[in-house]
């Protein structure tokens, strides 16, 4: 009788521990994802300043600047799903890369203190975004391991937890020249 009770108590404790560990990992994923969102938001806040500064110096990059502004508005739309956000984000990334290359043709702009500061902030946000992405992927890895391995996979199945995909860097971004940081 006592042995049976002991086994049940042990199973209940195990269940609680495993359930909690799954919930903690799931929350860690959500938390890491929200930090990516925070970084993206910071970057969106920086775009108008950057656009204004570039506009003042170059008259030939209007098309790119307009596209960037449009993409920013789309990415910030509250109705955008995460997939849409990521897609817009990748587009935005591409246009920003184009703009940064185009700026090379404007020595006055390159020497402008305000622009240099904005560029520094931009690079920093890029680095922080990359760090958030890596933290998110590490959290996903932890979570997926728990969802797929025994015995936590039993509870994961019961709660309909499914593995989540990693935050992949778009192929064209991977091919962009890597700065030696």
């Amino acid at each position: 009788m006592y042995i049976a009770l002991g086994i049940i108590a042990l199973l209940v404790i195990m269940f609680i521990f495993m359930n909690n560990s799954l919930v903690i990992r799931k929350n860690a994923v959500n938390n890491a994802f929200s930090s990516i969102d925070v970084m993206l938001q910071k970057r969106y806040d920086l775009i108008p300043n950057l656009v204004q500064t570039v506009k003042a110096y170059s008259k030939y990059e209007q098309e790119t600047l307009t596209k960037i502004t449009e993409l920013r508005t789309a990415a910030m739309s509250p109705s955008a799903t995460m997939d849409e956000k990521i897609k817009t984000e990748n587009e935005l990334q591409k246009s920003m890369g184009k703009l940064m290359v185009a700026v090379e043709n404007y020595p006055d702009l390159k020497a402008n203190q305000n622009y240099l500061q904005l560029q520094g902030s931009w690079n920093e946000l890029e680095e922080q975004l990359s760090a958030s992405r890596r933290a998110f992927n590490a959290a996903i890895n932890d979570y997926n391991n728990a969802v797929e391995t025994f015995p936590t996979n039993i509870i994961a199945n019961m709660k309909h937890y499914q593995t989540k995909g990693f935050f992949e860097v778009p192929e064209d971004k991977k091919q962009m020249p890597v700065m030696n940081l």
Binding site: A32, S35, Q117, Q119, G120, S121, N123, E124, E127, Q128, S130, A131, S132, R134, A135, N137, A138, N141, D142, M179, N180, L181
Partner: protein
Amino acid sequence: MGTYAAFQSFYEKDLVPDLNLLEEERKKVLKQLVITVAIGLVGGICGASIYSLHAAAVLYIIPAAAIIYALICYAKYNKLKEAYSLNFKKRIVQRIVDFIQPGLAYDCDKHVSQELFTNSDIFRTQVDSYVGDDCITGTIGKTDFTFSELHAQHREVYYNNGRREERWVNIFKGIFFVADFNKHFNGRTFVLPDKAENFLGGVFKFVQKLTVGRGQLVKLENVPFEKEFVVYSDDQIEARYILSPALMERILRFKQEANANILLSFVNSCMYLAIPVSMDLFEAKIFSSGTKLEYLASYYRYMNLAINIIEDLNLNTRIWSKQ
């Protein structure tokens, strides 16, 4: 910054004449030591003979005089040794520093302050003895840095059969390096030698002490880096912001080059790096010739290693908001 081949030629052309002069000084120091020991021995033997032969007490004047003279000789030896050591540092070590990177300030008596050592938070054992020398301070590119040789110890009290005894335990001995990091950060991140690797080395307890209360374990995606190091931080994202994939590679390469269990911390936008070295660095030799290239090569290697940290870890890249 010169290569080892350039250092060899620098040694032959510039250092050898001074080393030959210093060699004369070294011989004088050694001679003085031999005289001191010889007189001390004569005094001791005389004293022992007089005592064993039960000779007249007045004869004790001879060993007493010998020992007093030996003490005078010893004082002279110490003075000569200090002068020789200082000359070595000024004529040789200073010039090696200038050869590697001109414009750096070298002070043979100073060391990295205990405040910086404590701020690093790498070593958490209470420091009871803190000594060091050969401090180098300067700026390379946009990065301010300082490093020196340090020896921090802890006095451990233990009881042996009820008797209170003390022993000195090493906390850190080697080169301690502090530099302004190229990115802003607020939290604390520690990069320490991996526990598992050290488990068999018998310093498991020490490493455990190092890791308690350092925040969350940060699992990084670089497998060779994870094999060598364990990373703790109070912010998962900030740890990755600091430890970019490129910096992890550079730290790994640096560890291989240093061939030591290096420890790093990132606190208050500064980087602290401890390179354990068991030998005494940048000191003049007394008992063997100091003119050989091999003898200076190890000093050059460590000096070069420390000064090149800025370049090796790319701390001069200031493309972020911190300039």
